[in-house]
């Protein structure tokens, strides 16, 4: 058993349309590292060029924002759940 990362619909296209991906890791950073090594395209959508989580994406570890824990260094254990929640403003419009 590992850590389950829940993928929002806006990012599902980068992980073969899965709702969630189970990975191994001792911290949020390691879990995301494992995720992005498997799905390389996801990386630039999650992180900015300085390796920080993009400002319009929140990451919740077991329902609390990692900003108020140790950020990416927050420890995770098997069975924990990480939720990625991007800012959305819609709307059901199609792309132009």
């Amino acid at each position: 058993m590992g850590v389950v990362i829940e993928i929002p619909s806006a990012l599902k296209q980068y992980v073969n349309n899965q709702d969630e991906v189970e990975v191994k890791g001792g911290s949020v950073e390691e879990a995301f590292g494992a995720l992005c090594s498997e799905y390389a395209e996801l990386k630039s959508n999650l992180f900015d060029e300085n390796g920080k989580i993009r400002s319009f994406i929140n990451v919740y570890l077991n329902d609390d924002d990692i900003r108020y824990a140790d950020g990416l260094k927050s420890e995770v254990q098997d069975g924990d759940s990480i939720q990625i929640v991007p800012s959305v403003a819609g709307g059901c419009k199609t792309e132009k």
Partner: protein, 190 residues
């Protein structure tokens, strides 16, 4: 149907605020997923560093929201800027040019689900989401006619092709949507 569920939760919270009853959805973000049919709740804290409501606010009056939201994509290599007018054709011009062009290759850069709704006969599908000029199978001598839904994605693909060295490029202004209005009256609009 999604907006129905979400709008009614919003209505419920408005009513609770008016009646000052129950536990309002303050400090909690409710996430609803219709496909999984589940509700999750995450905690939302007041950020002491918030530029608006934090301890040392820098936003003390309304700002220019258009500029604020016009965030460039950091780190992304933007295709070289080109004179879009020189490459865009109206639907009728697009059709006429294509009909007279023996090397014409018609490329649809929309996504598969859009192709399934409708497409122009004779086109090949190369979705912009996975568009790669090198792997596209397009040849250097091809005369490439691009179209999308409204014209924007076609122009993005055109810039990528131009940067990759392709020369004969045209884009359908207004996309298949305008094509349906001006050229093919049997084409559905979506």
């Amino acid at each position: 149907m999604l907006p129905g569920v979400v709008g009614l939760i919003q209505a419920t919270e408005v009513i609770k605020l008016i009646l000052e009853g129950g536990v309002p959805l303050i400090g909690r973000l409710l996430l609803y997923d219709a496909m999984k049919m589940n509700f999750k709740e995450v905690r939302v804290r007041k950020d002491p560093e918030c530029v608006l409501c934090g301890d040392n606010p820098s936003v003390t009056e309304l700002i220019d929201y258009k500029a604020f939201c016009d965030v460039p994509l950091p780190g992304a290599e933007l295709p070289e800027d080109i004179d879009e007018a020189a490459y865009g054709l109206s639907p009728q011009e697009f059709k006429d040019a294509m009909d007279q062009d023996p090397n014409a290759v018609l490329v649809d850069v929309r996504e598969t689900f859009e192709w399934d709704i409708c497409h122009i006969e004779g086109a090949q599908l190369l979705p912009l989401s996975s568009f790669d000029p090198v792997k596209s199978g397009l040849g250097p001598d091809d005369s490439i006619y691009l179209y999308c839904y409204k014209g924007k994605r076609g122009m993005l693909a055109l810039k990528e092709l131009k940067n990759a060295g392709f020369k004969n490029l045209k884009n359908l202004n207004g996309g298949i949507d305008l094509w349906a209005e001006e050229v093919d009256f049997d084409m559905p609009q979506y």
